[in-house]
Symmetry: C2
Subunit: 432 residues, 2 copies
């Protein structure tokens, strides 16, 4: 039992999430303190935007625009970092650790890029880092994966971990809507940002996948290791064909143990419509973890938003505060114990959906089949749609049996070069 009467929190960032955290810490101070066993209180909150002094609703004296008021205050025990990004946030994070402050963060970019360095620095300074909020918002996943599933060898993770893209693909599917319109709607509703690239290109999902894969495989896996393809090439036709074939299309973040190496990839995926993952709609997230003992376990809930993310952050703060109060040493440990190779995307084996626009003339399918056959890609089914009379073209959809990505890419190149093939509409991997 420590003899501290107060445990003080400093908050870096008063955006949507920071405001949720600040209000929860202030409004529930009594309740949270009871759970800790001594007073837990927000002391200072930083934002460079002074208008947030009033909009955040915290008492005026708690607001500061000077990070050192938090980082240099020996009275602050726990720093919550919700600035985001890896510039200022990274510097503040490291400084907080060096000043022997525990850090709780929701910053997936920072954790995915610098986890090993930050953990080393925390260990050196005898403090804890917690980042449950960095993946899946209010869904417990970091801690369950790290602790409750630790007896398993993880076989695979299939995750819907970006709410913006899941909102967009859900609407494209349900309303037969094209990408640009669905994106615009999502922006109007505040589910997508003005510059949506980070979400729709799969970058945000890749940050989160890097964190999950690092924990699951105990090997340092960064965003740069992840093959990443966004949702902007999807058309309403892809969703229509998917439905006909019994699939949903989701942006999946996939990590898979592959003998001595690991597959890590983010891309639109066909998933069988009867699975739970195929039915995760709108801004919801779901993370499916397959362990060799436990089988498939799914964690589902709101993957973003102020209050769900606040749930994860304040729970992390509480756990650290309880340890401080009890005088217990920090638990942060290096989580990587091996170095796993990353399987290049060209070497993965998958089933594929291919959509092509062709001249509506005899013999075209024979030519395409020949190319696929030459590359040892065998066809599971073909749908040929009625021709468009005006343009004299037709659309065909091919589902393949499992094939190697490199072979499929070569076959697609050769197919594209046939004069009667007008366009390769899309190529989407099937995840079973």
């Amino acid at each position: 039992m420590s003899n501290k009467e107060y445990i003080h929190v400093g908050l870096l960032g008063l955006g949507v999430i920071g405001t949720g955290v600040a209000r929860t810490l202030v409004n529930r101070a009594d309740e949270l303190s009871r759970q800790v066993g001594c007073q837990l209180a927000l002391k200072k909150a930083l934002d460079c935007d002074v208008t947030r002094k009033s909009t955040s609703g915290i008492p005026d004296h708690m607001f500061t625009t000077d990070a050192d008021q938090i980082l240099e205050d020996p009275d602050i025990d726990i720093v919550v970092e919700v600035i985001g990004g890896d510039t200022d946030a990274f510097e503040y994070f490291k400084k907080a650790l060096v000043r022997r402050k525990h850090v709780v963060t929701a910053n997936k970019e920072l954790i995915s890029k610098h986890m090993a360095e930050l953990i080393a620095l925390a260990t050196e300074n005898n403090v804890d880092i917690r980042y449950e909020a960095s993946v899946g918002g209010g869904i417990p996943i970091v801690s369950p994966l790290k602790q409750d599933l630790v007896a398993n060898n993880i076989i695979a993770i299939n995750a819907i971990i970006n709410g913006t893209t899941n909102y967009i693909v859900t609407h494209m599917a349900a309303e037969n809507m094209d990408f640009s319109i669905a994106l615009k709607q999502a922006q109007e509703l505040g589910y997508a940002e003005a510059d949506p690239a980070n979400d729709i290109e799969g970058i945000d999902a890749a940050y989160k996948l890097a964190i999950l894969a690092t924990i699951a495989f105990r090997s340092e896996i960064g965003p740069q290791d992840i093959y990443c393809e966004g949702i902007s090439r999807l058309s309403s036709r892809d969703f229509r064909y998917a439905r006909e074939l019994g699939y949903a299309i989701k942006l999946l973040a996939i990590a898979r143990s592959d003998h001595d190496s690991v597959q890590v990839r983010v891309h639109p995926s066909f998933i069988p419509e009867e699975t739970l993952l195929a039915n995760v709609d709108g801004v919801f997230n779901a993370i499916e973890v397959e362990g060799d003992l436990t089988g498939k376990v799914i964690f589902y809930g709101r993957g973003a938003g102020s209050l769900p993310t606040t749930s994860a952050i304040v729970s992390d703060v509480l756990r650290i505060a309880q340890r401080i109060h009890l005088g217990l040493p920090p638990t942060t440990q290096p989580i990587t114990s091996s170095v796993k190779k990353i399987t290049p995307i060209s070497e993965i084996v998958s089933r594929y959906y291919m959509r092509l626009t062709i001249d509506d003339s005899p013999g075209v399918l024979a030519q395409i089949s020949k190319i696929l056959g030459d590359h040892l890609i065998s066809i599971a089914s073909v749908i040929q749609k009625e021709a468009d009379e005006k343009s004299q073209t037709a659309e065909i959809v091919i589902m393949t049996h499992p094939a190697r990505e490199s072979a499929v890419q070569k076959a697609i190149q050769e197919t594209e070069a046939i004069p009667v093939v007008k366009e390769i509409g899309n190529l989407i991997r099937v995840v079973d």
Copy 2:
């Protein structure tokens, strides 16, 4: 860092789960030891059935029929209790704690009935108790609820936590099968025991719900507090009507914050067919937790079986072993901090499904409607099915708006007394 070179495990019980645990500890000794940081080894395993010496596949010298070989061995640090029940297991559990051994268990009966006493004894003896496997098999739920959602006020838990009953209701729904046949099939496939009462009467689900509710509401809630109704009254007709009305029927374990008190109940429930819970089929489990910050979070997976349960047990063993190795004090703490009243079932408010067999004569519905109206129960919809010509009876199904249980029970009694009402087929609560 402790200077122990070995951490030894003693195993009580070599049934299906014990065998899974024993084999995992033996076969993965190197891997698990690497994770702990020192040798983690199974030392002795107890079973009163000597045939299990060979069937379990553990080395002969590890087998014993004498519990003291484990409980009195100062060299054993962690005891895994998978005997089940609350007689021998309870004595051994307490003795292990008194002998300052950490205990990991899958025993929901014991934990739900004696949690406070066991935690007090563990605290007194400076050891840990872990029981992740007691609810949801391989699904992490105890620890996430206790730790990762701790910042929330829990509003409700809706859980499918008994695989046997979920297997039975899934088959009744899918194959239009009657209860007795579905039960027999489940028994033949090993999904139901020869004496199935514990599962089909909802007792097993009530044990698990007591554990979850105790953690969620930080108040001591035992199995005796839980209103409990099994699935044996369900008929294939109920499933047919449910489908027509847009619902699935599941045995739900429900805990709900209700002002200053708590509702805890296990009963068959109508749930809207489009929800994820309605689509949890077969032996799978799902626990939906609604927190005031995080919203609804769902944990899904295999709720029973040797390997999933082994996953939870061995993960718990690993976490304790890591603490022993690092010389850290135990973390077990009392989890109850308040005493919440239990709402009597008569006071709950719910929508209801009622199925009745009536004489096929004019005016019957008017009589029933009058009784319901007298008790302030308003009708949302009525389905009257074509009459059975031979018996001159018809079946009607009534869906009510929200009504108080006590009023509904009185109305049902009065309805049953009308001469033209032949039988109250079923009364099932709707959970939205």
